[in-house]
Protein backbone atom coordinates (compact mmCIF):
# COMPACT_ATOMS: atom_id res chain seq x y z
CA UNK A 1 0.00 0.00 0.00
CA UNK A 2 2.83 2.32 0.90
CA UNK A 3 4.18 1.90 -2.60
CA UNK A 4 1.05 3.42 -4.09
CA UNK A 5 1.28 6.55 -1.96
CA UNK A 6 5.01 6.85 -2.55
CA UNK A 7 4.54 6.81 -6.33
CA UNK A 8 1.91 9.51 -6.04
CA UNK A 9 3.87 11.77 -3.70
CA UNK A 10 7.08 11.40 -5.73
CA UNK A 11 5.41 12.24 -9.01
CA UNK A 12 2.57 14.54 -8.04
CA UNK A 13 3.80 17.56 -10.06
CA UNK A 14 4.13 15.41 -13.19
CA UNK A 15 0.69 13.91 -12.77
CA UNK A 16 -0.84 17.35 -12.21
CA UNK A 17 0.86 18.95 -15.18
CA UNK A 18 -0.26 16.05 -17.37
CA UNK A 19 -3.78 16.36 -16.05
CA UNK A 20 -3.79 20.10 -16.78
CA UNK A 21 -2.41 19.61 -20.27
CA UNK A 22 -5.16 17.10 -20.97
CA UNK A 23 -7.70 19.65 -19.76
CA UNK A 24 -6.13 22.40 -21.90
CA UNK A 25 -6.09 20.30 -25.04
CA UNK A 26 -9.68 19.24 -24.46
CA UNK A 27 -10.68 22.88 -23.85
CA UNK A 28 -9.00 24.11 -27.04
CA UNK A 29 -10.42 21.21 -29.05
CA UNK A 30 -13.85 21.89 -27.59
CA UNK A 31 -13.81 25.46 -28.90
CA UNK A 32 -12.80 24.29 -32.37
CA UNK A 33 -15.34 21.48 -32.31
CA UNK A 34 -18.16 23.81 -31.36
CA UNK A 35 -17.36 26.54 -33.90
CA UNK A 36 -16.79 24.12 -36.77
CA UNK A 37 -19.52 21.73 -35.64
CA UNK A 38 -22.20 24.40 -35.46
CA UNK A 39 -21.16 25.73 -38.87
CA UNK A 40 -21.20 22.31 -40.50
CA UNK A 41 -24.44 21.43 -38.70
CA UNK A 42 -25.97 24.58 -40.15
CA UNK A 43 -24.75 23.57 -43.61
CA UNK A 44 -26.32 20.14 -43.14
CA UNK A 45 -29.65 21.69 -42.19
CA UNK A 46 -29.52 24.52 -44.74
CA UNK A 47 -32.21 24.64 -47.44
CA UNK A 48 -29.68 24.20 -50.26
CA UNK A 49 -28.52 20.92 -51.79
CA UNK A 50 -25.07 22.29 -52.52
CA UNK A 51 -24.44 23.36 -48.91
CA UNK A 52 -25.91 20.08 -47.67
CA UNK A 53 -23.44 18.15 -49.78
CA UNK A 54 -20.47 20.10 -48.45
CA UNK A 55 -21.62 19.38 -44.92
CA UNK A 56 -22.20 15.74 -45.79
CA UNK A 57 -18.69 15.31 -47.19
CA UNK A 58 -17.17 16.96 -44.13
CA UNK A 59 -19.12 14.77 -41.74
CA UNK A 60 -18.50 11.49 -43.53
CA UNK A 61 -14.80 12.24 -43.97
CA UNK A 62 -14.05 13.13 -40.37
CA UNK A 63 -16.41 10.62 -38.82
CA UNK A 64 -15.08 7.60 -40.65
CA UNK A 65 -11.34 8.26 -40.59
CA UNK A 66 -9.45 6.99 -37.54
CA UNK A 67 -8.21 9.83 -35.35
CA UNK A 68 -4.71 8.38 -35.36
CA UNK A 69 -4.61 8.39 -39.17
CA UNK A 70 -5.93 11.96 -39.15
CA UNK A 71 -3.12 13.00 -36.81
CA UNK A 72 -0.49 11.43 -39.07
CA UNK A 73 -2.17 12.96 -42.09
CA UNK A 74 -2.13 16.44 -40.62
CA UNK A 75 1.08 16.49 -38.64
CA UNK A 76 3.40 14.16 -40.51
CA UNK A 77 1.87 14.97 -43.89
CA UNK A 78 1.86 18.74 -43.71
CA UNK A 79 5.15 19.09 -41.87
CA UNK A 80 7.01 16.88 -44.28
CA UNK A 81 5.43 18.61 -47.23
CA UNK A 82 7.24 21.66 -45.88
CA UNK A 83 4.33 24.00 -46.53
CA UNK A 84 4.02 25.25 -42.98
CA UNK A 85 5.39 23.90 -39.75
CA UNK A 86 2.71 23.16 -37.23
CA UNK A 87 2.94 23.50 -33.50
CA UNK A 88 2.31 20.14 -31.86
CA UNK A 89 -0.29 21.45 -29.43
CA UNK A 90 -2.18 23.34 -32.12
CA UNK A 91 -2.05 20.41 -34.53
CA UNK A 92 -3.33 18.08 -31.81
CA UNK A 93 -6.15 20.34 -30.71
CA UNK A 94 -7.11 20.97 -34.33
CA UNK A 95 -7.24 17.26 -35.19
CA UNK A 96 -9.25 16.42 -32.10
CA UNK A 97 -11.55 19.40 -32.63
CA UNK A 98 -12.17 18.79 -36.33
CA UNK A 99 -12.76 15.10 -35.67
CA UNK A 100 -15.31 15.80 -32.93
CA UNK A 101 -16.91 18.59 -34.98
CA UNK A 102 -18.31 15.99 -37.38
CA UNK A 103 -20.19 14.36 -34.52
CA UNK A 104 -21.31 17.73 -33.16
CA UNK A 105 -22.65 18.64 -36.60
CA UNK A 106 -24.64 15.42 -36.76
CA UNK A 107 -26.23 15.92 -33.37
CA UNK A 108 -27.11 19.52 -34.22
CA UNK A 109 -28.71 18.41 -37.46
CA UNK A 110 -30.80 15.77 -35.73
CA UNK A 111 -31.71 18.31 -33.04
CA UNK A 112 -32.95 20.78 -35.65
CA UNK A 113 -34.93 18.13 -37.50
CA UNK A 114 -36.42 16.79 -34.29
CA UNK A 115 -38.33 20.05 -33.90
CA UNK A 116 -40.55 19.10 -36.79
CA UNK A 117 -41.69 20.69 -39.98
CA UNK A 118 -45.18 21.22 -38.57
CA UNK A 119 -43.94 23.77 -36.08
CA UNK A 120 -42.10 25.69 -38.77
CA UNK A 121 -45.24 25.78 -40.90
CA UNK A 122 -47.33 26.77 -37.91
CA UNK A 123 -44.94 29.61 -37.16
CA UNK A 124 -44.94 30.82 -40.74
CA UNK A 125 -48.71 30.68 -40.97
CA UNK A 126 -48.94 32.78 -37.82
CA UNK A 127 -47.02 35.46 -39.65
CA UNK A 128 -43.55 34.96 -38.20
CA UNK A 129 -40.72 35.65 -40.62
CA UNK A 130 -38.23 32.89 -41.52
CA UNK A 131 -35.70 34.40 -39.15
CA UNK A 132 -38.18 34.65 -36.30
CA UNK A 133 -39.25 31.04 -36.83
CA UNK A 134 -35.62 30.00 -36.58
CA UNK A 135 -34.67 32.10 -33.57
CA UNK A 136 -37.91 31.89 -31.59
CA UNK A 137 -39.30 28.45 -32.39
CA UNK A 138 -36.70 26.08 -33.80
CA UNK A 139 -33.45 26.99 -32.06
CA UNK A 140 -34.73 27.22 -28.45
CA UNK A 141 -36.07 23.69 -28.74
CA UNK A 142 -33.17 22.35 -30.78
CA UNK A 143 -30.60 23.58 -28.26
CA UNK A 144 -32.34 21.71 -25.47
CA UNK A 145 -32.28 18.43 -27.34
CA UNK A 146 -28.71 18.94 -28.51
CA UNK A 147 -26.93 19.73 -25.24
CA UNK A 148 -26.94 16.22 -23.67
CA UNK A 149 -25.50 14.46 -26.76
CA UNK A 150 -22.85 17.16 -27.05
CA UNK A 151 -21.96 16.55 -23.42
CA UNK A 152 -21.43 12.88 -24.26
CA UNK A 153 -19.25 13.92 -27.17
CA UNK A 154 -17.07 15.98 -24.86
CA UNK A 155 -16.58 12.90 -22.68
CA UNK A 156 -15.60 10.86 -25.73
CA UNK A 157 -13.30 13.68 -26.81
CA UNK A 158 -11.55 13.65 -23.44
CA UNK A 159 -10.86 9.96 -23.84
CA UNK A 160 -9.70 10.49 -27.41
CA UNK A 161 -7.32 13.21 -26.27
CA UNK A 162 -5.06 10.48 -24.88
CA UNK A 163 -4.27 9.53 -28.47
CA UNK A 164 -2.50 12.90 -28.85
CA UNK A 165 -0.09 12.01 -26.06
CA UNK A 166 0.39 8.46 -27.29
CA UNK A 167 1.02 9.26 -30.94
CA UNK A 168 3.85 11.08 -32.68
CA UNK A 169 2.51 14.40 -31.44
CA UNK A 170 3.75 13.49 -27.94
CA UNK A 171 1.84 16.23 -26.19
CA UNK A 172 2.73 16.09 -22.50
CA UNK A 173 -0.70 14.97 -21.39
CA UNK A 174 -1.66 12.57 -18.63
CA UNK A 175 -0.96 9.51 -20.79
CA UNK A 176 2.54 10.56 -21.78
CA UNK A 177 3.38 11.65 -18.22
CA UNK A 178 2.22 8.25 -16.98
CA UNK A 179 4.47 6.50 -19.45
CA UNK A 180 7.39 8.70 -18.40
CA UNK A 181 6.77 8.00 -14.72
CA UNK A 182 6.56 4.28 -15.46
CA UNK A 183 9.83 4.44 -17.37
CA UNK A 184 11.49 5.95 -14.31
CA UNK A 185 10.21 3.59 -11.62
CA UNK A 186 8.90 0.43 -13.38
CA UNK A 187 6.01 0.18 -10.95
CA UNK A 188 3.20 -0.59 -13.36
CA UNK A 189 0.13 -0.92 -11.16
CA UNK A 190 1.09 1.92 -8.85
CA UNK A 191 1.79 4.32 -11.72
CA UNK A 192 -1.26 3.44 -13.79
CA UNK A 193 -3.64 3.49 -10.83
CA UNK A 194 -3.22 7.23 -10.31
CA UNK A 195 -3.58 7.97 -13.99
CA UNK A 196 -6.73 5.85 -14.01
CA UNK A 197 -8.09 7.92 -11.15
CA UNK A 198 -7.13 11.09 -13.02
CA UNK A 199 -9.06 10.04 -16.12
CA UNK A 200 -12.02 8.79 -14.13
CA UNK A 201 -12.23 12.12 -12.29
CA UNK A 202 -12.68 13.93 -15.60
CA UNK A 203 -15.00 11.47 -17.32
CA UNK A 204 -17.21 10.49 -14.39
CA UNK A 205 -17.66 14.10 -13.27
CA UNK A 206 -18.73 14.99 -16.77
CA UNK A 207 -21.06 11.99 -16.96
CA UNK A 208 -22.80 13.14 -13.78
CA UNK A 209 -23.16 16.69 -15.13
CA UNK A 210 -24.55 15.44 -18.44
CA UNK A 211 -27.07 13.23 -16.66
CA UNK A 212 -28.22 16.20 -14.55
CA UNK A 213 -28.57 18.35 -17.65
CA UNK A 214 -30.49 15.60 -19.39
CA UNK A 215 -33.22 15.52 -16.78
CA UNK A 216 -33.30 19.28 -16.44
CA UNK A 217 -33.50 20.02 -20.14
CA UNK A 218 -35.89 17.22 -21.05
CA UNK A 219 -38.86 18.62 -22.94
CA UNK A 220 -42.03 17.39 -21.30
CA UNK A 221 -44.68 16.88 -23.88
Amino acid sequence: MGDYWRVLSNNLPDYLSGFLTTCQVVGAAFLIAMVVGVTVGALRAAPSTFLNRIGFIYVEFFRNIPLLVLIYLVYDGINRAGIISLDRFIAGAACLGLYTAAYVAESIRSGVFAVGQGQVEAGLSLGFTQREVLTKIVLPQAIRTVIPPIGNLVIAMTKNSAILGGSLLAINDLLLRTRQIYASNFKLYQTFLWATIGYLIITITMTVIVRKLETRLAIRR
Binding site: N64, P66, V69, D76, A162, L175, L188, I204
Partner: protein, 279 residues
Protein backbone atom coordinates in the same frame (compact mmCIF):
# COMPACT_ATOMS: atom_id res chain seq x y z
CA UNK B 1 -3.13 21.92 -53.44
CA UNK B 2 -0.48 21.69 -56.11
CA UNK B 3 1.55 19.59 -53.70
CA UNK B 4 -1.40 17.33 -53.04
CA UNK B 5 -2.19 16.63 -56.67
CA UNK B 6 1.34 16.77 -58.04
CA UNK B 7 1.81 13.62 -60.12
CA UNK B 8 5.28 13.06 -58.71
CA UNK B 9 3.82 12.70 -55.26
CA UNK B 10 1.55 9.89 -56.37
CA UNK B 11 4.21 7.77 -58.05
CA UNK B 12 4.58 5.62 -54.95
CA UNK B 13 1.18 4.09 -55.55
CA UNK B 14 2.26 2.21 -58.64
CA UNK B 15 5.81 1.63 -57.46
CA UNK B 16 6.64 -1.89 -56.32
CA UNK B 17 4.02 -3.36 -54.06
CA UNK B 18 3.55 -0.26 -51.92
CA UNK B 19 -0.19 -0.19 -52.36
CA UNK B 20 -0.58 -3.90 -51.78
CA UNK B 21 1.55 -3.61 -48.66
CA UNK B 22 -0.73 -0.86 -47.31
CA UNK B 23 -3.80 -2.89 -48.16
CA UNK B 24 -2.45 -5.96 -46.40
CA UNK B 25 -2.01 -3.83 -43.30
CA UNK B 26 -5.55 -2.59 -43.63
CA UNK B 27 -6.84 -6.17 -43.78
CA UNK B 28 -5.04 -6.89 -40.50
CA UNK B 29 -7.00 -4.02 -38.96
CA UNK B 30 -10.26 -5.44 -40.20
CA UNK B 31 -9.38 -8.90 -38.90
CA UNK B 32 -8.49 -7.55 -35.47
CA UNK B 33 -11.75 -5.59 -35.41
CA UNK B 34 -13.84 -8.66 -36.26
CA UNK B 35 -12.11 -10.89 -33.71
CA UNK B 36 -12.40 -8.25 -31.00
CA UNK B 37 -16.06 -7.65 -31.87
CA UNK B 38 -16.98 -11.33 -31.58
CA UNK B 39 -15.40 -11.61 -28.13
CA UNK B 40 -16.87 -8.25 -27.07
CA UNK B 41 -20.37 -9.40 -27.96
CA UNK B 42 -20.03 -12.51 -25.82
CA UNK B 43 -18.51 -10.75 -22.82
CA UNK B 44 -20.76 -7.74 -23.27
CA UNK B 45 -23.81 -9.98 -23.01
CA UNK B 46 -22.47 -11.64 -19.87
CA UNK B 47 -21.75 -8.23 -18.36
CA UNK B 48 -25.20 -6.95 -19.28
CA UNK B 49 -26.85 -9.95 -17.66
CA UNK B 50 -24.63 -9.42 -14.64
CA UNK B 51 -25.67 -5.79 -14.55
CA UNK B 52 -29.34 -6.68 -14.52
CA UNK B 53 -28.89 -9.51 -12.07
CA UNK B 54 -31.12 -9.61 -9.01
CA UNK B 55 -28.15 -10.31 -6.79
CA UNK B 56 -26.82 -7.05 -5.44
CA UNK B 57 -23.22 -8.26 -5.26
CA UNK B 58 -23.18 -9.37 -8.90
CA UNK B 59 -24.86 -6.26 -10.24
CA UNK B 60 -22.70 -3.81 -8.30
CA UNK B 61 -19.54 -5.64 -9.31
CA UNK B 62 -20.53 -5.69 -12.98
CA UNK B 63 -21.61 -2.06 -12.82
CA UNK B 64 -18.29 -0.93 -11.35
CA UNK B 65 -16.28 -3.04 -13.79
CA UNK B 66 -18.14 -1.59 -16.77
CA UNK B 67 -18.02 1.99 -15.54
CA UNK B 68 -14.27 1.89 -14.95
CA UNK B 69 -13.25 0.39 -18.30
CA UNK B 70 -15.76 2.38 -20.30
CA UNK B 71 -14.52 5.67 -18.92
CA UNK B 72 -10.84 5.14 -19.62
CA UNK B 73 -9.16 6.07 -22.90
CA UNK B 74 -8.74 2.97 -25.04
CA UNK B 75 -5.09 3.73 -25.79
CA UNK B 76 -4.44 3.90 -22.05
CA UNK B 77 -6.03 0.46 -21.61
CA UNK B 78 -4.00 -0.97 -24.48
CA UNK B 79 -0.73 0.39 -23.09
CA UNK B 80 -1.58 -0.99 -19.68
CA UNK B 81 -2.20 -4.50 -20.95
CA UNK B 82 0.85 -4.42 -23.19
CA UNK B 83 2.95 -3.78 -20.09
CA UNK B 84 0.94 -5.89 -17.67
CA UNK B 85 0.78 -9.24 -19.46
CA UNK B 86 3.62 -11.52 -18.37
CA UNK B 87 6.45 -11.98 -20.83
CA UNK B 88 5.96 -15.77 -20.68
CA UNK B 89 2.58 -15.35 -22.36
CA UNK B 90 4.14 -13.43 -25.20
CA UNK B 91 6.87 -15.98 -25.75
CA UNK B 92 4.39 -18.85 -25.42
CA UNK B 93 2.28 -17.24 -28.13
CA UNK B 94 5.26 -16.48 -30.33
CA UNK B 95 6.45 -20.09 -30.08
CA UNK B 96 3.08 -21.58 -30.89
CA UNK B 97 1.58 -19.19 -33.40
CA UNK B 98 0.23 -21.08 -36.45
CA UNK B 99 2.32 -20.34 -39.51
CA UNK B 100 -0.64 -19.64 -41.80
CA UNK B 101 -1.41 -16.41 -39.93
CA UNK B 102 -0.05 -13.15 -41.35
CA UNK B 103 3.21 -11.99 -39.84
CA UNK B 104 1.45 -9.31 -37.78
CA UNK B 105 0.21 -12.06 -35.49
CA UNK B 106 3.68 -13.36 -34.76
CA UNK B 107 4.15 -10.56 -32.23
CA UNK B 108 3.03 -11.72 -28.80
CA UNK B 109 1.64 -8.30 -28.09
CA UNK B 110 -1.32 -9.17 -30.26
CA UNK B 111 -2.63 -10.84 -27.09
CA UNK B 112 -2.49 -7.54 -25.24
CA UNK B 113 -4.06 -5.77 -28.21
CA UNK B 114 -7.02 -8.12 -28.43
CA UNK B 115 -7.43 -8.25 -24.65
CA UNK B 116 -7.43 -4.45 -24.36
CA UNK B 117 -9.86 -4.02 -27.25
CA UNK B 118 -12.17 -6.71 -25.86
CA UNK B 119 -12.18 -5.40 -22.29
CA UNK B 120 -12.93 -1.85 -23.41
CA UNK B 121 -15.47 -2.77 -26.08
CA UNK B 122 -17.27 -5.39 -24.03
CA UNK B 123 -17.94 -2.65 -21.48
CA UNK B 124 -19.36 -0.46 -24.24
CA UNK B 125 -21.37 -3.35 -25.70
CA UNK B 126 -22.70 -4.09 -22.23
CA UNK B 127 -24.17 -0.60 -22.09
CA UNK B 128 -25.73 -0.98 -25.55
CA UNK B 129 -27.25 -4.35 -24.66
CA UNK B 130 -28.44 -3.17 -21.28
CA UNK B 131 -30.18 -0.23 -22.95
CA UNK B 132 -31.81 -2.63 -25.43
CA UNK B 133 -33.07 -4.89 -22.66
CA UNK B 134 -34.19 -2.08 -20.35
CA UNK B 135 -36.07 -0.40 -23.19
CA UNK B 136 -38.51 -3.32 -23.20
CA UNK B 137 -41.55 -2.66 -21.13
CA UNK B 138 -41.44 -4.21 -17.71
CA UNK B 139 -44.66 -6.01 -18.59
CA UNK B 140 -42.75 -8.35 -20.90
CA UNK B 141 -40.84 -9.89 -18.04
CA UNK B 142 -43.92 -9.95 -15.85
CA UNK B 143 -45.98 -11.61 -18.56
CA UNK B 144 -43.30 -14.26 -19.02
CA UNK B 145 -43.20 -14.84 -15.27
CA UNK B 146 -46.98 -15.12 -15.10
CA UNK B 147 -46.84 -17.77 -17.82
CA UNK B 148 -44.69 -19.74 -15.42
CA UNK B 149 -41.36 -19.16 -17.13
CA UNK B 150 -38.19 -19.27 -15.14
CA UNK B 151 -35.71 -16.39 -15.23
CA UNK B 152 -33.52 -18.06 -17.86
CA UNK B 153 -36.52 -19.15 -19.91
CA UNK B 154 -37.94 -15.65 -20.02
CA UNK B 155 -34.51 -14.25 -20.88
CA UNK B 156 -33.98 -16.74 -23.66
CA UNK B 157 -37.46 -16.74 -25.14
CA UNK B 158 -38.88 -13.29 -24.44
CA UNK B 159 -36.44 -10.61 -23.34
CA UNK B 160 -33.25 -11.28 -25.30
CA UNK B 161 -34.80 -11.91 -28.74
CA UNK B 162 -36.53 -8.54 -28.57
CA UNK B 163 -33.86 -6.61 -26.71
CA UNK B 164 -30.98 -7.84 -28.85
CA UNK B 165 -32.84 -6.96 -32.04
CA UNK B 166 -33.09 -3.38 -30.85
CA UNK B 167 -29.38 -3.09 -30.31
CA UNK B 168 -28.32 -4.11 -33.84
CA UNK B 169 -27.95 -0.57 -35.25
CA UNK B 170 -25.99 0.61 -32.19
CA UNK B 171 -23.77 -2.47 -32.48
CA UNK B 172 -22.94 -1.73 -36.09
CA UNK B 173 -21.96 1.83 -35.23
CA UNK B 174 -19.81 0.50 -32.40
CA UNK B 175 -18.18 -1.78 -34.95
CA UNK B 176 -17.30 1.35 -36.96
CA UNK B 177 -15.69 2.89 -33.88
CA UNK B 178 -13.85 -0.35 -33.14
CA UNK B 179 -12.66 -0.49 -36.71
CA UNK B 180 -11.13 2.96 -36.34
CA UNK B 181 -9.73 2.12 -32.92
CA UNK B 182 -7.75 -0.84 -34.25
CA UNK B 183 -5.19 1.65 -35.60
CA UNK B 184 -4.23 2.30 -31.97
CA UNK B 185 -2.64 -1.13 -31.67
CA UNK B 186 0.19 0.21 -33.82
CA UNK B 187 1.28 2.11 -30.73
CA UNK B 188 1.98 -1.15 -28.86
CA UNK B 189 3.90 -2.47 -31.84
CA UNK B 190 1.50 -4.54 -33.93
CA UNK B 191 2.40 -4.30 -37.60
CA UNK B 192 -0.85 -3.10 -39.06
CA UNK B 193 -1.72 -0.35 -41.50
CA UNK B 194 -0.15 2.60 -39.67
CA UNK B 195 3.12 0.71 -39.24
CA UNK B 196 3.01 -0.32 -42.88
CA UNK B 197 2.51 3.33 -43.78
CA UNK B 198 5.58 4.25 -41.79
CA UNK B 199 7.56 1.72 -43.80
CA UNK B 200 6.28 3.18 -47.05
CA UNK B 201 6.93 6.79 -46.03
CA UNK B 202 10.42 6.20 -44.68
CA UNK B 203 13.50 5.15 -46.54
CA UNK B 204 13.91 1.56 -45.48
CA UNK B 205 16.42 -1.08 -46.49
CA UNK B 206 13.65 -3.49 -47.44
CA UNK B 207 11.90 -1.02 -49.69
CA UNK B 208 14.90 0.89 -50.98
CA UNK B 209 14.11 0.08 -54.60
CA UNK B 210 10.59 1.48 -54.26
CA UNK B 211 9.55 5.09 -54.51
CA UNK B 212 9.07 6.55 -51.06
CA UNK B 213 5.52 7.79 -50.43
CA UNK B 214 4.96 11.31 -49.10
CA UNK B 215 3.03 10.95 -45.78
CA UNK B 216 0.20 13.27 -46.78
CA UNK B 217 -0.74 11.12 -49.75
CA UNK B 218 -0.10 7.79 -48.03
CA UNK B 219 -2.26 8.59 -45.02
CA UNK B 220 -4.92 10.05 -47.27
CA UNK B 221 -5.15 6.72 -49.08
CA UNK B 222 -5.36 4.88 -45.77
CA UNK B 223 -8.02 7.29 -44.57
CA UNK B 224 -10.02 6.66 -47.74
CA UNK B 225 -9.86 2.90 -47.16
CA UNK B 226 -11.33 3.37 -43.71
CA UNK B 227 -13.91 5.83 -45.00
CA UNK B 228 -15.13 3.41 -47.67
CA UNK B 229 -15.56 0.50 -45.25
CA UNK B 230 -17.00 2.55 -42.41
CA UNK B 231 -19.35 4.49 -44.66
CA UNK B 232 -20.72 1.23 -46.04
CA UNK B 233 -21.18 -0.02 -42.48
CA UNK B 234 -22.98 3.16 -41.40
CA UNK B 235 -25.30 2.86 -44.41
CA UNK B 236 -26.00 -0.70 -43.31
CA UNK B 237 -26.73 0.51 -39.79
CA UNK B 238 -29.24 3.11 -40.91
CA UNK B 239 -30.89 0.63 -43.26
CA UNK B 240 -31.26 -1.84 -40.41
CA UNK B 241 -32.76 0.90 -38.29
CA UNK B 242 -35.34 1.75 -40.93
CA UNK B 243 -36.02 -1.92 -41.57
CA UNK B 244 -36.68 -2.44 -37.90
CA UNK B 245 -39.09 0.41 -37.76
CA UNK B 246 -40.92 -1.00 -40.78
CA UNK B 247 -40.98 -4.52 -39.39
CA UNK B 248 -42.75 -2.97 -36.46
CA UNK B 249 -40.94 -4.71 -33.69
CA UNK B 250 -41.92 -1.85 -31.47
CA UNK B 251 -44.82 0.43 -30.90
CA UNK B 252 -43.66 3.00 -28.48
CA UNK B 253 -46.01 3.66 -25.62
CA UNK B 254 -45.23 7.27 -24.94
CA UNK B 255 -43.82 8.40 -28.27
CA UNK B 256 -46.68 10.12 -30.01
CA UNK B 257 -45.34 9.63 -33.55
CA UNK B 258 -44.49 6.85 -35.95
CA UNK B 259 -46.19 3.71 -37.12
CA UNK B 260 -45.87 0.05 -36.47
CA UNK B 261 -47.72 -3.21 -36.28
CA UNK B 262 -50.00 -4.18 -33.47
CA UNK B 263 -51.74 -7.56 -33.42
CA UNK B 264 -51.11 -7.95 -37.11
CA UNK B 265 -52.58 -4.58 -38.03
CA UNK B 266 -50.64 -1.64 -39.28
CA UNK B 267 -51.12 1.18 -36.85
CA UNK B 268 -50.10 4.77 -37.16
CA UNK B 269 -49.71 6.64 -33.96
CA UNK B 270 -50.89 10.21 -34.32
CA UNK B 271 -49.84 12.93 -31.93
CA UNK B 272 -52.39 13.32 -29.19
CA UNK B 273 -51.98 16.47 -27.12
CA UNK B 274 -51.61 15.71 -23.46
CA UNK B 275 -54.46 17.32 -21.55
CA UNK B 276 -53.07 20.25 -19.66
CA UNK B 277 -54.08 20.74 -16.11
CA UNK B 278 -55.73 24.04 -15.31
CA UNK B 279 -54.00 26.09 -12.71
Amino acid sequence: MTYLFDAGNWEWITSGNNLRFIFQGFLINLQIAVVAMVFSLVFGLLLALGNLSKSKVVSVTARTWVDVWRNLPLIFVLLFFALALPGDWYSAWEDNVPSFLPSAYENGRILAAILGLVIYNSAVMCEIMRAGIVSLEKGQGDAAASLGMRYWQSMKLVILPQGLRRMVPATVSQLITLNKDTTLVSIIGIREVVRHAKTVTNANPFTAEFVKGPPLQVYLVIGLMFIVVNFALSRLASRLEVGQRKAGTEVQGDGPRGSGRLDGHDVTLVPVPTPRRRK
